[in-house]
């Protein structure tokens, strides 16, 4: 285990802003902290990086407790941090990338070769002698990442590193960062509110709300099996329905929702209240009732109430007696001649429905 936190509590202005009972960061793994603005991601990151002293609780790095100012200073020599703003010094790009190495007492030759290697890795060798103040947002963030990786940290903390960049720059940087993290096997903790970015980068994903980690697991687990409605909503589950279990079958059950019945997989008791979460990518739209040979167990007739373009695909809002949301490609939209007011049939597999017991 690279880093562990126990019973962490951070207070600000008399209010508890972070309350974490236990968190373990495995070596060579990428942990992302996701959550809405104000969830405490940045504060937790600063605390885990030894830059903010917790009100109580402990940090353990490679088995050593970080319990004093001296220990925190020594611990900081093993890490690097990148913020949303590049925070470059008012000097050349080369000097910026070299700054961490100089603070670590490295000498000329090592500095030159390490800086050159990292500038090349982030594709900014041609900017080495440019003033950091003249760089574009993307270039500056590349320089900031190069500065962080130049010191070969054991853990790198990234606080919303791409949040202020335009979409194409962000995508290119996420790809580069992913490749470099895989290559260097650096342990990373990344705070982001962008779930797509988190999905791309994480080995483990922790969802934060109001200073607490409400769910931690693999990205697939968090996305497909959210712990509660709040998490479900944050991770992009568009349809969240509450109903009562009406019938139990062998492995599946029927949930009554607003006059409709939904068949899902799960262990529940008859009469129990439960929440069904359906991700839009799991809802298929048909213009006719599909073949009886389909493996889907749920078919709902509904009217298209709204079609929202989402770039490469469309978001379809259906009224099936209850709201249901689906994603379709532009080709499907065209082929099925989908338009607002049209009656369609939506199908959902029982296994695609995530059930949360109330």
């Amino acid at each position: 285990m690279t880093l562990q936190a126990f019973d962490l509590c951070v207070e600000r202005g008399g209010h508890t802003v972070i309350e974490i009972s236990e968190l373990t960061v495995e070596p060579h793994r990428v942990l992302t902290l996701i959550g809405p603005n104000g969830a405490g991601k940045s504060t937790l990151l600063l605390t885990l990086a030894g830059l903010l002293k917790p009100h109580h609780g402990s940090l353990v790095f490679r088995g050593q407790a970080i319990d004093s100012a001296r220990a925190r200073a020594a611990y900081r020599k093993h890490l690097a941090m990148v913020f949303q703003e590049p925070l470059l010094f008012n000097t050349s790009v080369f000097e910026n990338v070299a700054s961490g190495l100089k603070l670590r007492g490295k000498t000329g030759k090592i500095i030159r070769s390490t800086v050159e290697k990292n500038l090349e890795q982030f594709g900014i060798s041609h900017l080495a002698h440019r003033s950091a103040r003249t760089l574009s947002g993307g270039e500056a963030q590349r320089a900031s990442l190069a500065r962080a990786f130049a010191i070969e940290p054991e853990i790198i903390f990234l606080d919303e590193p791409f949040a202020s960049l335009d979409a194409p720059t962000r995508e290119a940087l996420v790809d580069d960062l992913h490749a470099i993290l895989c290559e260097t096997k650096t342990t990373a903790i990344i705070a982001t509110h962008d779930r797509m970015e988190a999905l791309r980068l994480s080995d483990t994903m922790a969802v934060m709300f109001q200073g607490k980690i409400v769910q931690i697991g693999s990205p697939e687990d968090v996305m497909n099996h959210p712990a509660d409605e709040q998490v479900a909503s944050f991770v992009g589950t568009e349809t969240i329905l509450t109903g009562t279990v009406s019938k139990i079958y062998d492995g599946t059950f029927l949930l009554s929702i607003a006059g409709a019945e939904l068949e899902a997989v799960g262990v529940v008791k008859a009469g129990e209240r439960a929440v069904c979460c359906i991700r839009p990518e799991h809802v298929t739209i048909h213009t006719n009732t599909p073949s009886a040979h389909s493996s889907a167990r749920n078919f709902f007739k509904g009217i298209i109430v709204k079609i929202v373009p989402m770039g490469l695909f469309y978001k379809i809002y259906l009224d099936c007696g209850f709201p249901l949301v689906s994603f379709v490609t532009s080709q499907s939209l065209e082929h099925l001649e989908l338009q607002e007011g049209k009656t369609v049939v939506a199908s959902v597999k029982a296994t695609a429905i995530h059930v949360i017991k109330k």
Binding site: A80, E85, I151, F157
Partner: protein
């Protein structure tokens, strides 16, 4: 008009003939105000940085007090420094009254709030996460403070200019604690006051021109350095 032209002519003569008395007065002015500026920089930047970085109760009140101190009247400073250094005063035993040291003390008190006020604003103006960024790069607290000063060097150079400009041109405190003693505590401003009161306007104008040239030269050098550093 003749009086002014005569003054300019006299100033040129005094400057180019390297008049011993004028040279002594000019060097003492530079020495006293330069030392006071240096002291105010050490005190002002370090304390300004501490105030800017630390969170403590009453911080806003402290900053307001410093900002008020930026307009501290030199005569008030002169009065209190005189009282403290007076033969029967708390520090009378030091025998500093009517010495260049007393003038340095008074001028340091005038310049320190100026430097401190600008330093607090300059450091607070830096991105808040910059200090965390520097620490995360492996810096010690001292290295972090040095790097922050380096990042705020443009406004801090303005603080140097404000501090030096404030003390080289002040007369009230210098005359009260220095006494304008010929060959010992006479500086450009006190000499100008004395020559004016004696009706020697040509010498007074000459001394004023030297004072302005001196202030301009120092500020021109600092401005040049500052503008070289300006991000383009």
């Amino acid at each position: 008009m003749d009086l002014i032209l005569e003054g300019i002519k006299k100033a040129c003569v005094l400057l180019f003939t390297l008049d011993a008395e004028v040279l002594r007065i000019t060097l003492l002015s530079l020495g006293v105000s330069g030392t006071a500026t240096l002291i105010s920089l050490i005190l002002g930047i370090s304390m300004g940085m501490l105030i800017a970085l630390k969170e403590f109760p009453g911080k806003k009140f402290v900053i307001s007090t410093i900002n008020t101190g930026m307009g501290l009247p030199p005569v008030v400073v002169g009065l209190f420094v005189s009282i403290f250094l007076w033969r029967n005063g708390p520090f009378g035993f030091l025998g500093l009254l009517y010495t260049p040291a007393a003038m340095i003390i008074a001028q340091s008190i005038i310049a320190t709030p100026l430097v401190m006020g600008v330093s607090v604003a300059a450091i607070q103006h830096l991105p808040k996460n910059l200090r965390y960024q520097i620490l995360a790069l492996g810096a010690t607290r001292l290295q972090m403070m040095w790097l922050l000063v380096r990042e705020a060097r443009l406004p801090l150079l303005a603080a140097v200019m404000a501090g030096f400009g404030g003390v080289i041109s002040e007369v009230g405190a210098s005359i009260m604690v220095g006494g304008n003693i010929k060959g010992y505590t006479r500086v450009l401003t006190t000499a100008t006051v004395m020559e004016t009161s004696k009706g020697n306007f040509d010498i007074a104008i000459a001394l004023s021109i030297i004072l302005m040239v001196l202030a301009f030269a120092v500020n021109a050098i600092l401005t040049y350095v500052q503008q070289q550093e300006r991000p383009r």
